[in-house]
């Protein structure tokens, strides 16, 4: 999307994940689809970071899991180096785990409490290279621990003996041990203290540069995403509202929803309040993904909505400067963030 120089490593086309919700009584059971992810498309280059933001329940984590085949997609394609991961059988998909890894949100709960750190990090090695020598594994594990900022002599400790930030470092070491090419970070810092968040993000940035990793970084915190991303995708109710370079997105959002999100970032200045035009202009709550609005899913909450927004689904279309937006009125609206805007780079 942001250039044609090199082919993208990851190309996602119209990916959709529906969960079947069973409701009604025992006799009149109905199955209704919950559209967690509904037609997402994007591309990712080697070494690039795509941030994904959105409110809770907008489908960010489902998107992450669908990319890795941890949940089955309803439709769409996930092309990894030209090969479609959707429809691969379990065995073939497992082999791809060498190249695509994920870091989870809850650092401690994501580690098996009955295994030592060394075993946790080494397990993928044993799985993919069963004949590897013990010494080699240990050497590699210690190397990984050092790389993510853990002390290699802590190799025989259990996860509960570490802090949240250290647990996330273990999670990162575990994800990196197989030399993957893409790492999906599913809200890797939202459970951590702000000071620790910065450490983990800087660690991820360092590792990305060193190892030429592509990253998909999911978060609900715009400030965090801005710091690490090259481009940002804004999701709402399972759809992409805007995909734009981080620079543009925070300075001049194209979509009213992005505008609302950027404006909602708290201003670190005591006594200063938002007034008038600075208010987010967002009305009401996010509708249920069981029963999404017609037309543009954002129209019931959009201050700029017109009749057309209720009727027609706006496609994600390319704007000037290589940014993409799904809004009928993107050209007319000028949502430039003025004075003191938190998004100023």
């Amino acid at each position: 999307m942001s250039g044609n120089e090199r082919p993208p490593v990851l190309k996602v086309q119209d990916l959709a994940v529906y969960y079947d919700i069973h409701d009604g009584g025992l006799l009149r059971q109905q199955v209704r689809p919950l559209k967690a992810v509904d037609g997402i498309s994007f591309e990712l280059e080697r070494g690039e970071t795509l941030g994904v933001v959105g409110e809770s329940g907008c489908g960010k984590s489902t998107l992450a899991r669908a990319l890795l085949g941890l949940v089955p997609p309803r439709r769409g394609r996930v092309l990894w180096l030209g090969e479609d991961l959707v429809g691969l059988d379990e065995k073939a998909l497992r082999r791809k785990r060498k190249e695509l890894q994920i870091i989870f949100q809850d650092p401690l709960a994501s580690l098996n409490p009955r295994m030592t750190v060394g075993d946790i990090i080494a397990e993928p090695l044993w799985t993919f290279y069963p004949k590897i020598a013990r010494v080699q594994v240990e050497e590699r594990v210690r190397g990984m621990m050092k790389m993510v900022g853990l002390l290699p002599n802590q190799i025989n400790r259990y996860p509960h003996e570490f802090s949240g930030g250290q647990c996330q470092r273990i999670g990162i070491a575990r994800a990196l041990v197989l030399n993957p090419k893409l790492i999906i970070c599913d809200e890797p810092v939202s459970a951590l203290d702000v000071s620790i968040q910065a450490q983990i993000i800087n660690l991820l940035k360092d590792l990305q540069r060193k190892l030429a990793l592509s990253l998909i970084f999911i978060a609900h915190d715009l400030a965090v995403v801005k710091h690490i991303s090259d481009r940002v995708m804004v999701m709402y109710l399972g759809r992409a509202m805007e995909v734009a370079s981080a620079r543009h997105l925070y300075r001049r959002p194209l979509h009213p929803y992005t505008n609302a999100l950027v404006k909602a970032v708290p201003i670190p200045e005591p006594g200063r309040r938002r007034r008038g035009a600075e208010e987010t202009g967002l009305r009401g709550d996010m509708p249920s993904p069981m029963n999404p609005p017609t037309g543009c899913v954002f129209h019931p909450r959009c201050p700029w909505a017109v009749k057309r927004c209720e009727l027609e689904v706006p496609p994600l279309r390319r704007m000037a400067e290589g940014d993409w937006v799904a809004c009928h009125r993107a050209e007319e609206l000028d949502l430039t963030i003025v004075k003191h805007a938190p998004g100023t780079v």
Binding site: R95, A109, S110, T127, L178
Partner: protein, 314 residues
């Protein structure tokens, strides 16, 4: 797990804490059986007073209660449960030594069967959660938990002994044939109960985050289950098995009656009915020690299955 100092200290502390428990058990049972109306030598026809007095003198029942109590405590210290009042010529030690191996064999086999089948069925059902197979096995498990063994045993005898003629209807001769029906009868509710426990905890564990991590690592599903999910899912089953094993290997009154097996179980009821003080004390103490020992083993297994539990916390 290393045999480090804290481990040794933990074991010593645990063993020491057993003593007050046992003393309490002895005391309560000792006085309770004597509070119950009637005595060991009561019968429809009253004994001549001289004979009654002789008997009581022989078994020290004429002494003050406290003296009897301390005499009994002294005996227990040298592991002597004393003579049975009802089974003349037998000491309680001999009765237990004779009945326990039979009850132990049947009970241990039943527990083994219950554990292996229960865990496999539970895991199988959990992996097929909410499928027809899951619902039907759990339905059968509910039946297995609910149907009492005095219904199951006669039905099994009817089917396999009376109609089929493949197995003996009762009796005990240390052959596998004579063990099958009582073992199956005892094992059925255990299988059912463990299967339900296992299914529930397995489903819970499979939804936990570290299982998702294991899958993301690219582990085959078999490995995910065996290496990551099985251990934590076993915890509730293990804690159920401690007391349940003690109950099974000390013999079931009903099952031993129905299959006419010379086990330990009938002594509990017979001893109590006959006011056979020493026998009641003996079997209750024996049962108590087994429960304590098995709970101890369960706690040790816990700390192996879960390194988060430090010995100090046990």
């Amino acid at each position: 797990m290393t045999l480090d100092q804290s481990f040794v200290r933990h074991i010593t502390r645990r063993l020491l804490s057993v003593l007050p428990t046992l003393l309490m058990l002895i005391t309560v049972v000792f006085f309770l059986v004597r509070v119950a109306p009637g005595g060991p030598f009561d019968s429809e026809k009253a004994l001549p007073p001289e004979i009654q007095a002789n008997l009581e003198a022989k078994y020290h029942l004429d002494e003050p209660l406290l003296q009897q109590y301390f005499r009994y405590l002294g005996q227990i210290l040298v592991l002597d449960f004393g003579p049975s009042f009802q089974y003349k010529d037998w000491t309680v030690n001999e009765l237990i030594a004779q009945g326990f191996p039979v009850s132990l064999t049947i009970g241990a086999l039943a527990m083994l069967l219950g554990f292996v089948l229960g865990v496999s069925i539970g895991v199988g059902a959990a992996l097929r959660q909410n499928s027809a197979a899951d619902f039907s096995t759990m339905g059968f498990a509910m039946l297995g938990v609910s149907i009492p063994n005095f219904v199951v045993a006669p039905l099994l005898i009817l089917l396999f002994a009376v109609y089929g003629g493949w197995l003996p209807a009762g009796g005990w001769d240390w052959t596998w044939q004579s063990a099958v029906l009582p073992v199956v009868t005892l094992a059925l509710p255990v299988i059912a109960y463990i299967a339900r426990l296992m299914r529930g905890s397995m489903i819970e564990v499979l939804h936990s985050n570290f299982i998702r991590t294991a899958r993301a690592k690219g582990l085959p599903e078999r490995q995910v289950i065996l290496r990551h999910a099985l251990k934590p899912a076993l915890l509730p089953v293990i804690s159920y098995m401690g007391p349940a094993t003690a109950a099974l290997i000390t013999g079931s009154v009903v099952v031993e009656r129905i299959f006419s097996i010379p086990g330990l179980g009938s002594y509990f009821v017979q001893g109590a009915l006959n006011r056979d003080y020493t026998l009641v004390m003996g079997v209750v103490l024996f049962y108590g020690v087994l429960i304590i020992a098995l709970n101890f083993i369960v706690d040790l297994l816990y700390s192996i299955l879960n390194p988060k539990i430090a010995y100090e916390e046990l």
